[in-house]
Structures are given as structure tokens and as C-alpha cells.
Symmetry: C2
DNA sequence: TTGTAAGCGTTATCAG
DNA sequence: CTGATAACGCTTACAA
């Protein structure tokens, strides 16, 4: 049977108040009594019921982090960043994984916000706050991250990739490329849409017609099917744009496997993030997102809102940056890869 | 101000008991009253305080999962598996990340087990239960996973890699390789030690002297430093063994980058897991761990222990399997890679 | 310095 | 079918 504070009090021959006070250092207690209490705790193997405490105090010292895909390195680095910050303030970060499933996200948000955590950071799969408004108590501390929701008056921290992608594509064009492929994803549209739009705009604004066959949309929660890639790469593109980290890893790996040597047979700009080895970063241009910064800001912000709840929309937009590879090897732009790709 | 059940009762003109009953479907309530309650809930925007409920019930419907490195695909796939199982039983899986830090693990275990969760699955950084015994209440439902602890009478589910690694190394030897390098990690020793031991034993038992220079130990929580790899690969090995997934990714990437073509210049056996693209799996032999099975078993087991706490050690050992690549290209065994590695 | 007792929001046991 | 009310384990005025 679990022992309670009352048991401890009895064994120590004091009152529960005293026990509570020695546990929380909230009043000065004689050393002798203090010792008696400690002894009693020891013999009873007493552990305070944190749940009773939280209930009484109305505070949990926990923060929830809702992510759509825990296996994506973008989110796992984010998690590590956030954890680093909140742990310092003695908060426990509870991570829940929605698996890109809106229904799950709703349920999990509901549970987290009804007493499990003091505040929650959400990388949502929804694009409209009205879809989840009813599961979140009014003025509950929430920070949305990575994706902006419509009709939402919560703090939101996102990364704009428009300029970076535009710059990256433009660079490819300036190198002479005309057939530039682009692989995007079908999920989390608001983030990927912006990037795809940058690609489209950049191409068009450089007087190249957008060839829809060069645009491939894949399920970013799965590995890309090799057959799909094989079919796609028959379109004789001389350069590629990969619109997120998992796409980059998969497509890059595929192409290398097929004998493509980047910077020679083909140019590419892709996403780096964690999980990447330097060899790849040196082979292609990358777009680097300020993940650490976003994590830090989100963590700081949620802590602030917990301390000081306030109904105020505050939207922070960080900028991804385009990082060209160091030594861009000379490349004959319109030349088709020497090693056939298929 | 947050509204309570009492407020709802007042607005609906009923008693708190009634409100509770309509909320929990625990007694038959007239439709009219039921509707009045629903209306009151609606107008007050009432959400039950889950914390008060949990406190009262002594049950959380949550399970904790303590992992050392959330960014490692081994653990993230495990998380997804476990989540799949427990979610079906209406449990919320709370993932906490210890970042391979024993002190953090201890604190987090302490907090989780003192009321936050009903049971906990732990991939521990400790190797001795006595180090954490005092933070876990007696007979609290715990399932250890991936790593076995000394002095521990909890359920434990591990994967034995000895046979698989032995088989893999043996295969390399049978192919004619004599200088077989091995990269291992300095953390989570009990798991990696077994694998390293398999390597050593296999080599020795085939009358090859173990060359300590061929064994490299790296920090598995970081990317492997390229300079370290460069130095290491001067030792003219003709085949490699990579003892976990992150090592495999890093070293494989490095070597490919340096122009090595696996199955031609070099043979290797490594770890696959998620996060891998097929191109790599086809290039080297892999050791495949039954991650999904481990996750499912662990989840089922913790649920069982929560329902029916029992002090009984039960140790389950799953077996990793060696999976040779399909078409092993002809390879001149002792030939040094044509492309210099450095 | 220590003890008494109220109360946090629910659930559940009784009566009505 | 519905309503009082005790109880869960703890914190915290306030009293002694």
C-alpha cells in the first residue's frame, strides 16, 4: 500500500502540516523534528503524490509539445532545443506524437490542456484554429510553431522559406539550368506551399515555363518509393530542388545510388537539418532553417505565457537562409547526367 | 476564470452529482436534465479538470516512455510502435528525452512515477537498477527496454545482437576479408559491448588476430567527425562492421562520398533501422532488429502490469537477424579500394 | 515552532 | 431518478 503524508506524520509523531513544511522548506522546523520526519519517510518509503500536489496547487510544472512526426529530424532537434530551455526552469517536457493524424491531435490537445500541462507548444496539422478551438480552454497558454493557423490569436512562430528557396532556384537558373525538377510533399501544406510557390515564381519570373511534369508530390511521412523516383527522373532534369529534409535525404540517396555525382552531373538545392552528414551538405546547396532559434523562442514564449497569461497575438517569422556549397565545381549546365538516371 | 462542475450544476439547476453522472454516463439521467447540463456546459465553456479527476481516481490513463535520444531513429520508430498500441486502449503516451544524461533520467523517472503516469517504459542509460531504485515506488509498473539492468526485478525486453553480428562478420571472413574494421560507440555499453564482443570473438575464432587499430569508438550522440574518420580509414581495411544505426549512416555516407563503391571496393555490414533509404540497404549487408516487435511487446506488457501489478521478473530476449544484400556483387577480397580513402 | 482545519474539483456512496 | 456529502492527499492560513 502506498503511504501518504498522514502516515508519515503518524510515524514521526507530528502533524501533516509539519511534514509538508519540511518537505517544501516552507517554514523553519527544528532539526530534531525534521530528522524524525526524514526517518519516517525513509522507513515508509514515502513518495509525495505529485498529483495531489498539482491538483491542490493548480500547477504541474510540465509543458506539452505536440508534434506531427517524432521521427522527422526537424522535430527531434526542435524537441531537444525546447527541452534544453524548459528543463532549466524545472519544467518537464512531455512530447506527444500525433502521427500527422488530425483526430489524434485533437484528442491529445484536449487531454493535455485539461490539466496535464501548464502550457503547450503545438506543431499542428491543422490550418484553422476553429477546428481545435473547442478542445483548448480559453486563454490557455499555447504557442504554435512551424505552421500558422487561420483564425488564431495565439503566439505563433514560423520560419519563412520563400526567400531562401527563391534564392536557391535563382542560383540554379543563373548557372544555366533550365529543366529544374522539384519534389514537394502533400502534407503540412502551409509550409510546403510557400516553398513550392517560391519555386514556381522564381522559374516563371526568369522566363521559364513551369513544366508540371517536373513537379513531384510525395507523402513525406513515408520513404519515397523507388519506382516513383525512377519514373520521375526520366524527365531529364539537370538540377533539382528538394523542398524538405526527408525528401532531400531520400532523393539524394537515390540519385547517388544511381551514379549521379552532384556538382558534376547534376546540381541541387535541398534541406539540411540534423541527421545529415557533412558529405551531403558539401555536395549540394542547402537551405538552412533556424531550428534552434525557433525552439528557443518557443520555449521562452510558452514559459512567459504560463507566468503571465495574456490574450495577444504575436507572430514571429524567422527566415531560412540559402547556403550555397563552398566550392561549386564547374558544371556544364544543360548537359544531361552522364550516368543515366532511372 | 475556469468554471468547475459546481458552476455547471448551478447554471443547470442540478447537483454536482448529476453533472458528474451525465459526464460519465454512470447512471441513467432524464433526457431533459441531461440536456440542461449539456447546455450549461456549453454556455460556461466548461472543461472537466482532468487533474482533479485523476487525483480522485488514482489513475491517469497515461504511460511514460523514457528514451535517451529522441533523435535516434531506433527510438523514434519504437515510440511510434508503442504509441500505436497504447493509444488503442485510450492511453496517452508521454515521451521524455533524457539526452543520455543519467541525472536527468533519474529526475524524470522520479516525477513520472510519482503520479504523472500509470506506468513507464524505460530505455535506460543506467546499467544498475540500484542507481534508480529509490526514485521508483515499490511495485510501480515499469518495463525496461533495449537494455538490461543489474539487480533489477522488472520486466525487461532486449534484443540480442550477438548471433547476427557474429554471422555478419563471419560472412565477411568467408568472402576472404582479413582486415575488417569495426566502429562502435562509447555509450549504452551493454548493447554495444555485446556486438563488439561478437566481432572480436568471430575474428579470433577464425584465426585472425584482432588489430586494435581497426576498432574505432565514437560518441554515438554526435555526428562522427570527418577528420577522425579520415585518420581511421588509413588503416587499409577491406571490409567494415558498423555497430549501430547512426554509425552506419555516418560512416557509409563518408565512404560513399570518398568514392567507395560498396560491393566493389569494399564490403560492409551495418545497421539499418528506419531513416534508411533502400539504396543503402542494397549496398551493404544489414543487421535488422525487431524494433516493431519489441515495441509491441513492451506496450502490451506495460498495459498488463498496470491492470495487474505483479512482482515478477520476466526477461524477453528477441533476436536481431543478419540480412545479406540480395545480389552480392563479385568482390576481390583483399584488394584495397581503388579509390583512395582518406 | 508546531498543530488544526479548510478547501482544491472530482467521484461515489448513500439517502431521499 | 436525483441530491447531499464524504473522501482522495496535499498546502496553507490561522490558531495555539
Amino acid at each position: 500500500m502506498k503511504s501518504t503524508m498522514k502516515d508519515v506524520a503518524v510515524v514521526a509523531g507530528v502533524s501533516v502540516a509539519t511534514v509538508s513544511h519540511v518537505l517544501n522548506n516552507t517554514k523553519h522546523i527544528t532539526d530534531t523534528i525534521r530528522q524524525r520526519v526524514y526517518d519516517a519517510i525513509e522507513t515508509l518509503n514515502y513518495k509525495p503524490n505529485i498529483n495531489a500536489r498539482n491538483f491542490k496547487m493548480g500547477k504541474q510544472q510540465t509543458i506539452g509539445f505536440v508534434v506531427p512526426d517524432i521521427a522527422n529530424s526537424f522535430f527531434s532537434t526542435l524537441i531537444n532545443e525546447v527541452e534544453g530551455v524548459v528543463a532549466k526552469q524545472d519544467y518537464l517536457l512531455l512530447v506527444v506524437n500525433t502521427q500527422e493524424n488530425p483526430e489524434m491531435e485533437k484528442q491529445q490537445l484536449h487531454r493535455l490542456t485539461s490539466g496535464l500541462v501548464d502550457g503547450v507548444i503545438v506543431a499542428s496539422t491543422f490550418d484553422d484554429y476553429n477546428m481545435i478551438r473547442h478542445v483548448i480552454p480559453n486563454s490557455f497558454p499555447v504557442v504554435f510553431i512551424d505552421r500558422k493557423l487561420k483564425n488564431c490569436s495565439c503566439d505563433t512562430i514560423v520560419i519563412s522559406n520563400y526567400n531562401a528557396v527563391y534564392k536557391g532556384v535563382e542560383e540554379l537558373i543563373l548557372q544555366g539550368h533550365r529543366r529544374i525538377g522539384c519534389i514537394t510533399g502533400s502534407q503540412r501544406l502551409s509550409t510546403l506551399d510557400e516553398r513550392l510557390q517560391a519555386y514556381r515564381n522564381c522559374v516563371t519570373e526568369h522566363n521559364i515555363e513551369v513544366d508540371e511534369e517536373l513537379i513531384l508530390s510525395v507523402d513525406v511521412t513515408k520513404k519515397i518509393d523507388m519506382e516513383v523516383l525512377a519514373r520521375y527522373f526520366t524527365h531529364k532534369m539537370t538540377a533539382m530542388v528538394f523542398l524538405n529534409n526527408t525528401i532531400t535525404v531520400d532523393a539524394f540517396g537515390y540519385l547517388v545510388h544511381k551514379g549521379v555525382v552532384f556538382s558534376r552531373n547534376m546540381d541541387a538545392v535541398g534541406y539540411s537539418d540534423a541527421g545529415w552528414h557533412e558529405y551531403a551538405i558539401n555536395a549540394i546547396d542547402v537551405i538552412s532553417q533556424p531550428i534552434a532559434e525557433m525552439g528557443n523562442i518557443a520555449a521562452a514564449r510558452i514559459l512567459e505565457r504560463i507566468d503571465n497569461p495574456v490574450v495577444k497575438k504575436d507572430e514571429i517569422v524567422l527566415q531560412a537562409v540559402y547556403v550555397p556549397r563552398q566550392q561549386r565545381a564547374p558544371v556544364s549546365p544543360v548537359e544531361f547526367p552522364k550516368t543515366p538516371i532511372n
